[in-house]
C-alpha cells in the first residue's frame, strides 16, 4: 500500500467518524421508525395491542389502493402542491427581484417580509380562518363594503372554495421562504456581468431572460424542491382549517385517520408507506431534473 493510499484510507476513516453521530441520530429517528412502519404495513395489528399481530401480505396496500378516499387525498395533495408551489415560486421570484434592487428601507422590508414565515402554521391558519369568516370576517366585510359581493362568501365552508383557501394561506405563509432562497441566489450573480451586458446594448428583458433566470435556476430549483417535499406531506394547515373534510384531506391526514381515528395500525402503516413511496418518487424525479440542468447550465 502506497503512502497516498494509506492517507486516503485514513481520511475516509476520519470522515466516517465525524459522520457517526449523525448516522446514529438518523437511524434512531428516521430509519428505525420507517422500518417499523413498513413492517407493520404487512400485518393486521391494531393500535391498542400492537404486539398482537399476524401477517397479511400486501392486503393492506391493496385496501388502501382501492379506497377512493385515499385517491381523493392524493389528488388534493398533488393539486395543492402544484398550484401553491407554482404560485410561491412566481411570487417569490418577483419579490426577490424587487428586493434585489437597492432602495431606501430595503433592510426593513427584508426583515418584515419574514414575519408570515416566522409564525407557526397553526396560528396563521387560525388568523386567516377568522379573517375569512363569512359573517364576522374582515375580508368579507371589506368586499361587502366595496360592493363587490352581496353577502359574505363562506371561503372555509364552501366545498369548491376551501382547497383554494388552503392554497392561499399556504402561499401567504411560505412565499417569504421562497423570496429569501431566491434572493440569496440572485446575490451570487456578479454585478459586472450585468454591466457588461448593459454596455454592449443587451436590453432589460433579455438580461433577465438569458442571464438572471439561468444563473438563478439552481437556487430556484433547490427552493422548489424544499417546498414541494414540504407541500406533499402537508398536514397542519388542512387539519386545523377543516380536519378530515374530504375536500382538503391530504395524504398525511388520510394516513393519520387510519392510524389514530380507526386505530388500524396495519392499514395506517400501509397508507404511510404509500405516501412515503409517492413522495420518494417525486423527490427522485426532481433531483434528477436538477442534476441534468446543472450538467448543461
Amino acid at each position: 500500500m502506497s503512502a497516498a493510499e494509506r492517507m486516503q484510507r485514513q481520511q475516509n476513516r476520519t470522515a466516517w467518524l465525524f459522520l457517526l453521530p449523525l448516522i446514529i441520530a438518523l437511524v434512531g429517528v428516521a430509519i428505525w421508525p420507517l422500518t417499523r412502519s413498513i413492517f407493520f404495513s404487512f400485518t393486521d395489528a391494531f393500535l391498542d395491542a400492537p404486539a398482537n399481530y399476524g401477517f397479511v401480505g400486501i392486503d393492506n396496500f391493496i385496501t388502501v389502493a382501492e379506497d377512493p378516499v385515499f385517491w381523493r387525498a392524493v389528488k388534493n395533495t398533488l393539486f395543492f402542491t402544484v398550484i401553491s408551489v407554482g404560485l410561491e415560486t412566481l411570487l417569490g421570484l418577483a419579490i426577490a427581484l424587487l428586493l434585489h434592487r437597492a432602495f431606501v428601507g430595503r433592510g426593513i422590508v427584508r426583515a418584515a417580509i419574514l414575519v408570515p414565515w416566522a409564525m407557526p402554521m397553526v396560528v396563521s391558519t387560525r388568523i386567516w380562518e377568522w379573517m375569512l369568516n363569512d359573517q364576522f370576517g374582515l375580508i368579507n366585510k371589506l368586499f361587502v363594503t366595496l360592493g363587490l359581493v352581496e353577502k359574505g362568501i363562506a371561503w372555509t365552508a364552501e366545498p369548491t372554495l376551501i382547497l383554494y383557501t388552503v392554497i392561499f394561506i399556504d402561499v401567504w405563509v411560505t412565499t417569504p421562504f421562497m423570496v429569501l432562497l431566491i434572493l440569496a441566489g440572485l446575490q451570487l450573480i456578479p454585478e459586472e456581468i450585468y454591466e457588461a451586458a448593459e454596455v454592449s446594448g443587451v436590453p432589460h428583458w433579455k438580461r433577465f431572460w438569458s442571464i438572471t433566470l439561468p444563473l438563478a435556476t439552481p437556487a430556484i430549483g433547490v427552493a422548489m424542491l424544499f417546498r414541494t417535499l414540504d407541500a406533499l406531506r402537508m398536514f397542519d394547515l388542512s387539519y386545523v382549517l377543516a380536519a378530515n373534510n374530504e375536500n382538503t384531506m391530504t395524504m398525511s391526514i388520510y394516513a393519520r385517520d387510519q392510524l389514530i381515528s380507526f386505530q388500524d395500525l396495519g392499514l395506517g402503516s400501509a397508507a404511510s408507506t404509500w405516501v412515503f413511496m409517492i413522495i420518494g418518487l417525486i423527490a427522485i424525479a426532481i433531483v434528477g431534473v436538477l442534476r441534468l440542468d446543472r450538467a448543461t447550465g
Binding site: P190, E192, I193, E195, A197, E198, V199, S200, G201, V202
Partner: protein
C-alpha cells in the same frame, strides 16, 4: 469610431467628491490611458464615460453628440473588465455573440463576425468551452472578443491585464497594440501599471484625487512633467527629490543636501524649493569628485540586467541610483559621490509646479523631437 469629450464632469458619492470637474478631449482613433494611484477615480471616470454611473455635474460627448442622459446600453461602447465578467453559463461562442442576438443581425452575419473575431484573437479552438474551462489569458481574449464583435465606437478597458502573470501581460499588451493598429477605434484604457501606460498610450492622463494632473504624450510626461506629482509618479524607481537649503541659496545659486550646488539661470521669477533627479540620471563616483552630491552607500540590488543602489544623503533622505553594467564595489557606510548633469536636473516651486531652467529646457525640446 468617435471622439470622446468631457466637459466639467464631476462625480460625488454622497458627500465624497471622487471626480472633480474634469475637462478632457479624446480624439477619434486615439489610444488614451488613464493612470494614477489607487482610489484616484480612474475606474469611476471610465464608468462615467460608459454611462454605468450617472455624472453629478457636467456633460459627456461621444462623437460630438451629448450623451450625458443616454443610458449605457445606447452609447455604442464596449467595456472590458478586470474580472473579465464573462457569462459563466454560456460557451465562448455565445459569450461573444450574445449582444448581437438582439441587434437585428442575421444568423449568418453573426456567425461570420464571431468567426472573424475568434480568428483575430486566436481563440477559434475554444469556441465550445465554458469560461471556467479557460485560463486567465484565454478568458481575457474572450472578453476582448466580446467587446470587438459589436464594432463599438469606443473601447473602454478597466485594468484588463492586472490578473495575468508578467509574461502573459507583456504578450497581451503587444496584442492590444496590434489590435488598436488594426481596428483604429478610439480606446480608453485604465491601468495603474506605468509600463502599460508608457507602452500603449498615444496620450496619458495622470489622475490624482479626482483631478487631472497632466495630459500628454508618454515621452512628454516623462521629460517635462508639469509638477512634482507627475515627476514622482512616472519612472521606476521614482524620481529622487530633495529640498533646497533656502538660507544658503541666493539669487542664481542653489544649495541643498549633500553639498548640492548649482548656479541656475531661471526662466521665471519663481524660486525653486525642491530639486529632482531621476535614478538613471545619477552616476556613482568617488566622494571627492567635484560637483558631486555626497552621501553614504547603503545597499545595492543587483538584478543582472541593471542594478539599483541606495545612497543616504541625510537622516531622512535616501536616493536611488539605477544603472546597467558591472555593479560598483562599494561597501555599506562608505562615503560616495553622486555625479549628475545640469540638463537632467528638475526644479520645483513652492506649489509643486516644475520650474524651467536653461539647461533643462534644452534637454526636453531636444528629446521631444
Amino acid at each position: 469610431m468617435a471622439s470622446v469629450t468631457l466637459k466639467n464632469v464631476s462625480k460625488a458619492f454622497g458627500a465624497y467628491d471622487v471626480i472633480r470637474s474634469i475637462n478632457l478631449e479624446i480624439e477619434d482613433g486615439e489610444f488614451m490611458v488613464f493612470v494614477g494611484p489607487s482610489g484616484c477615480g480612474k475606474s469611476t471616470l471610465l464608468r462615467l464615460i460608459a454611462g454605468l454611473v450617472p455624472v453629478s455635474e457636467g456633460d459627456v460627448f461621444i462623437g460630438g453628440e451629448q450623451v450625458t442622459d443616454v443610458p449605457a446600453s445606447k452609447r455604442g461602447l464596449a467595456f472590458v473588465f478586470q474580472s473579465y465578467a464573462l457569462y459563466p453559463h454560456m460557451n465562448v461562442s455565445r459569450n461573444i455573440s450574445f449582444a448581437l442576438e438582439t441587434a437585428r443581425l442575421g444568423k449568418d452575419e453573426i456567425r461570420r463576425r464571431v468567426t472573424k473575431v475568434a480568428e483575430m484573437l486566436k481563440i477559434s479552438h475554444l469556441l465550445d468551452r465554458r469560461p471556467r474551462q479557460l485560463s486567465g489569458g484565454q478568458r481575457q481574449r474572450v472578453a476582448i472578443g466580446r467587446a470587438l464583435v459589436g464594432e463599438p465606437e469606443v473601447f473602454l478597458f478597466d485594468e484588463p491585464l492586472s490578473n495575468l502573470d508578467a509574461d502573459l501581460r507583456m504578450e497581451m499588451r503587444f496584442e492590444i497594440v496590434k489590435l488598436h493598429g488594426d481596428v483604429k477605434t478610439t480606446m480608453i484604457y485604465v491601468t495603474h501599471d506605468q509600463t502599460e501606460a508608457m507602452t500603449l498610450a498615444d496620450r496619458i492622463v495622470i489622475l490624482n484625487q479626482g483631478r487631472i494632473e497632466q495630459v500628454g504624450r508618454p515621452r512628454e510626461l516623462y521629460d517635462r512633467p508639469a509638477n512634482r506629482f507627475v515627476a514622482g509618479f512616472l519612472g521606476s524607481p521614482r524620481m529622487n527629490f530633495a529640498p533646497l537649503d533656502r538660507a544658503a541659496s541666493s539669487a542664481g545659486v542653489l544649495r541643498g543636501v549633500g553639498g548640492f550646488y548649482h548656479a541656475a539661470e531661471l526662466a521665471g521669477a519663481e524660486n525653486p524649493t525642491e530639486i529632482g533627479l531621476r535614478p538613471e540620471a545619477l552616476k556613482l563616483v568617488s566622494a571627492e569628485t567635484k560637483g558631486a552630491i555626497c552621501g553614504t552607500f547603503e545597499r545595492m540590488e543587483d538584478l543582472g540586467y541593471e542594478y539599483v543602489c541606495y545612497v543616504r544623503l541625510s537622516e531622512t533622505l535616501v536616493w536611488t541610483v539605477r544603472s546597467t553594467g558591472r555593479p560598483p564595489a562599494f561597501t555599506e557606510g562608505q562615503p560616495v559621490g553622486l555625479g549628475w548633469q545640469p540638463e537632467s536636473l528638475y526644479l520645483f516651486g513652492e506649489d509643486g509646479r516644475r520650474i524651467d531652467h536653461d539647461s533643462a529646457v534644452q534637454l526636453a525640446s531636444g528629446a521631444s523631437l
